[in-house]
Amino acid sequence: MRPTDWKTIAWNGVRFAVPGDWEPGRIGRRHLLFESEPGPVMEIKWGAVKGRFSRRRQLRELSRRIGRRRSAFQERPLPGEWRTSLAGFEAAGFQWDAANERAVGVLLYCAACRTVSLIQFFERPETASIEHTAARVLASFRDHRTDGRMAWALYDIVAFLPAHFTLERHRFEAGRFVLEFKERRCRLTLYRWAPAGVLLHKQSLAVFAETVAGGAGLEFRPMTIAGHPGLEGRDPAPTGCVACLKTRLGIVLVRRLRLWHVAGRNRILGVRLEGRRPIDDPEMCALSDAYGMDHEKTSATFADPG
């Protein structure tokens, strides 16, 4: 990816575009910190507002927090370019200066989804002003969708999941990404492993699924998933009336696992769904179709039909 390319980031309700060389340095449930070659460049925190939103109170709290780091905080009017980009939000600009660092930022409130977002961009004396790049980031910023789905796009993976799946845990380790979501009666896990060439060098995808992807005890069958060779594992069909009854009553845990090898990108992707209710084929297909690599999901996919 050339540094001039931009990429879409989508995480737990918010989405925006950043330059291609900005990488997530810290990932929290409602917090992202981006870094580029010289250091941190952007930070975003967001959350739902309980009760009445008070811009004054939020800025006072922010000023107190920043003041503790011996930085001089001040409110400032939004630059013209920013104001145009943020027309749909109630927005308040600010900046702070410290010994060898400076940040410009904005506090945003969306009345439609009652979300408050704090976005700040860091500048160093040796780097050029970030305001123009920031304007483009802010122009792409969205904090809700109207189609009942939630987009997830970080590093090279993209997912569009029904909004009722809430993020429970995430791990971005070298070679292994895991996102765990839960819903009332089931748990969804998205996996991404790399480099596939090395992981599948001495074992087949089926063996990998059993030993590494937690598919022990499942019955696997080969299938094509999103045009890639893959397999699906499911629990052996219950035999006998008691076992069938237990499954129907939700006494036993039902598991389905799909894994596929994206050879062109040297990755293995996986979707695991487990719950105390039957999992049917259309549901499993919809979830595996909703997950993929960044090159498979174009920017049009991120667009909210509403």
């Binding site: 990488e23 997530p24 340095g25 590093y155 090279d156 380790e173 070298a174 070679g175 790399a194 480099p195 060439g197 090395v198 060098h201 990108r265 040297n266």
Partner: protein, 94 residues
């Protein structure tokens, strides 16, 4: 090794009090112990790039390109590996 993976033999330094104890037990003259570390395919690839000159960032970039990994992901993996080698005393870090 035949598989292309690297097997590293390295001397293990014994803690002074253990060396003293070994001396008392009459084992002071035995040759120094060696340990071995078998690197997997990825570790072997990074090991081959360690020449004492190439900066870590460039090694990580080459590693990312060879295995089509994310830049950040490769940096973390290579840094952890190098740190582990340093902890075992196999390489010195500047």
């Amino acid at each position: 090794m035949e598989s292309g993976e690297v097997l590293v033999f390295y001397p293990v330094t014994v803690r002074p009090w253990m060396a003293k104890l070994a001396g008392w037990l009459g084992d002071g003259g035995s040759p120094p112990r060696t340990a071995k570390l078998q690197l997997d395919q990825l570790g072997s690839a990074v090991w081959a790039m360690l020449d004492g000159q190439t900066p870590l960032r460039r090694i990580a970039a080459a590693f990312a390109e060879d295995h089509r990994l994310e830049r950040k992901e490769a940096e973390v993996a290579v840094t952890q590996f190098i740190r582990e080698l340093g902890r075992r005393g196999l390489i010195g870090l500047r």
